[in-house]
């Protein structure tokens, strides 16, 4: 007892929290228009950088692929004081949240504010409404959105027609369809639940406050027992039990893609998953609006949608910004991208690309545009990763045979703990 109070006394000396690094203003480094630039991307985006290099042979571009935790890597560079890549791609649209702030000890925030004399506003206006929201902090824009990953319903039209199924318009219909498929065609799936983006697909679309926004930037709302959450968990549990919602990842090695009868998933599933990965023949996959709880107040999820950030420490901001702008808005390149572009002109080109038009069995334009406008804005972008808690608590639990409903309290605890450790206040 005495020891503890002595400890408490001793710890009353000075505050242990690191002095909140002021968002040090943006001081560009000495510029050199001729110097080469380094680009850090994930494996999927390497093609984009190579396309840029091909179109711009006089710019020296060095590309590195990285698939780990970007925030840790940037933190290491911050501590070392050098070595930052000039351009970075992140598949997580919440990365700009930390990149726009100092990582501590007076370090300059990694992301450069693009609206400050780097990209003209007229160019920035070319992005779809709301798509740049994850990039906007304190009145500045810290990234360019690569693609919108709004959720839609993907389905195998050929099989649906063959078996007389209709695309479900409500989640209750979705559940009913699932049970029907389990009985009539066991082995076919209405989706896989083993990926990190379960929360965004199902819970964001259900308006569940997994990390809900509040009117204060440093406070989030977490309440997984809210009816918006439990109703979704129930549907998921029912379908998991019936075996018609799988527990694996969509990209699990050896998965038979032809058994995925339907999938509520992001817009990039179309080309990237069904065509490139599952190799489903053209003309089979259709697109429709995703199921809704309430048709009068629809909401969709948003699975990532990558962002490109430019380093505030770059010695060649001109080239770096040019690359970031090109890869996100060049219609020639983006129309072939596997993802649906966030830039309006690029999106239009994507929709008219014959390759895209001919692959899908139904027109994609309407469902994509509807969904893009319906993404639920109540999902906060946080400095801590949105899927970390889900991956740590829920995925192992589901693999281990537990129900999602039973995991909700543990999941909530983990989110609350991560939020608090990251400096957020949490309300219910």
């Amino acid at each position: 007892m005495a020891a503890i109070s002595a400890l408490a006394l001793l710890s009353a000396c000075a505050s242990v929290a690191p002095a909140s690094g002021s968002s040090a203003g943006f001081k560009p480094a000495a510029q050199d228009d001729k110097s080469g630039i380094t680009v850090l991307v994930d494996p999927t985006r390497e093609a984009a950088v190579q396309a840029y290099q091909k179109a711009h042979p006089n710019v020296k571009v060095k590309v590195t692929t990285f698939n780990g935790t970007l925030q840790t890597k940037m933190s290491l560079y911050d501590k070392a004081g050098s070595g930052w890549p000039d351009v970075v791609f992140s598949a997580s649209s919440s990365d700009p949240t930390w990149a726009s702030k100092s990582s501590g000890s007076g370090a300059q925030p990694y992301a450069a504010p693009l609206n400050q004399n780097l990209i003209p506003q007229s160019t920035l206006d070319g992005w779809a409404d709301g798509s740049l929201a994850p990039c906007q902090f304190g009145g500045n824009l810290y990234c360019l959105r690569n693609d919108i990953a709004q959720t839609v319903t993907w389905y195998n039209k050929t099989l649906f027609d063959q078996w007389g199924y209709t695309v479900p318009k409500t989640w209750d219909d979705f559940q009913a369809l699932g049970l029907k498929v389990a009985k009539e065609h066991p082995g076919y799936l209405l989706g896989e639940f083993g990926d990190a983006w379960g929360p965004e697909i199902f819970f964001q679309a259900s308006k569940c406050p997994v990390q809900g926004t509040t009117d204060k930037a440093d406070t989030i709302k977490v309440n997984l027992q809210a009816p918006e959450c439990t109703r979704m968990a129930k549907v998921i549990d029912t379908l998991l039990d019936a075996g018609v919602l799988g527990k694996q990842s969509y990209f699990e090695k050896g998965l038979d893609g032809s058994k995925v009868l339907m999938s509520v998933g992001p817009s990039w599933f179309g080309q990237y998953l069904f065509n490139a990965t599952y190799k489903v023949p053209a003309g089979q996959i259709g697109v429709a609006d995703q199921p809704q709880w309430d048709a009068s107040a629809p909401a969709n999820g948003n699975v990532g949608g990558g962002v490109w950030m430019v380093s505030s420490h770059s010695k060649n901001l001109k080239a770096a910004t040019d690359l970031a702008t090109w890869v996100t808005s060049d219609t020639g390149f983006q129309k072939t991208a596997p993802t649906y572009p966030a830039n309006k002109a690029a999106a239009a080109a994507w929709l008219t690309n014959p390759a895209n038009v001919s692959y899908f069995a139904t027109p994609v334009k309407a469902p994509f545009q509807t969904a893009a406008g319906q993404v639920w804005k109540g999902w906060a972008n946080t400095t801590f990763g949105d899927s970390a808690a889900f991956q740590k608590v829920v995925l192992p639990g589901i693999t281990g045979g537990k129900s999602l409903t039973s995991l909700l309290p543990a999941w909530q605890t983990e989110i609350v703990n991560s939020a608090k450790a990251a400096g957020y206040k949490v309300v219910q």
Partner: protein
Amino acid sequence: MTTAQTLRPAQRERSNKAGYLFVAGYTVLLIAFGVLPTTYALALAFTNDQWQFTGFGQFIVAVTDYRFLQSMANMGAFLVIWLTATVVFAVGLALVLRNFVRGRASVFWRFIFYLPGALAGVASTLVWMFMLSPQASPIAPLLHAIGWTDFGQVVQPQNLPGIFAVMAFWVGVGGWIIIMYGAVNNISDDVMEAARLDGASSWQLAWYVQIPMIRQWVVYMLILAFAGGTQLYVEPQLLFVASKQVDPTWSPNQLAVQFAFGATSNPNVAAALSVVLLVVGLMFAVVLVKRSGMFNVEAED
């Protein structure tokens, strides 16, 4: 004789200065990478980023972090399994080799057991990830029989201490077998003869004669293995990157890295955690050393 005596003070003085030169390089490195990091860690652990004294504040932050207890429990579970297996099998296999195998065969087996040590670190972790992946593993039928049909089921939280223990065991026990073998080998033959003449069976020989006589070596092994085990980092880190279903702060070292480079980077808390781990390791060693009376560092000749 008198010449030697009269020479001695001068020689000793010359020996002194030369001695400093011999150890100079190492001492510089020892200070730079042994002493300084320790004092730097201690300094950081008791201050904040403005270098103000914070008492035990950083320690409290580290220890009350919601991930601390779990990571220590994980490390504890791993250590129990792995240390037990290492002690039992290093001593056991050394005894089997010493008592029943001789000559070239003995050398052959010791080399076989030691061979995995060449893969220590990333290589062995990756190899074992392949071994445990129900898609690619050569023992896939066995894995399926246990009910593991995909990698996610293999890396369930309750399996992890055992999995990491197997990895660490595979890589490390060979070296200890060789050392234990050397220790057993040096038990004087007279003692062994006497015991045999008294009618001891091989089992009694091992249990009552050989094992007690290598007690000091077993303690040595426990201390070094414990120190090594608390450094668990590569294995859980790679498993996290690969499967994404493993706790990213499974081991305390991973947690320290998170403290230092994570979303709310705070090197002082990371240092406090490092100090805690250091103290744990040293305490374990001190306890063992005291109980076995080792470290009687005597001057030579």
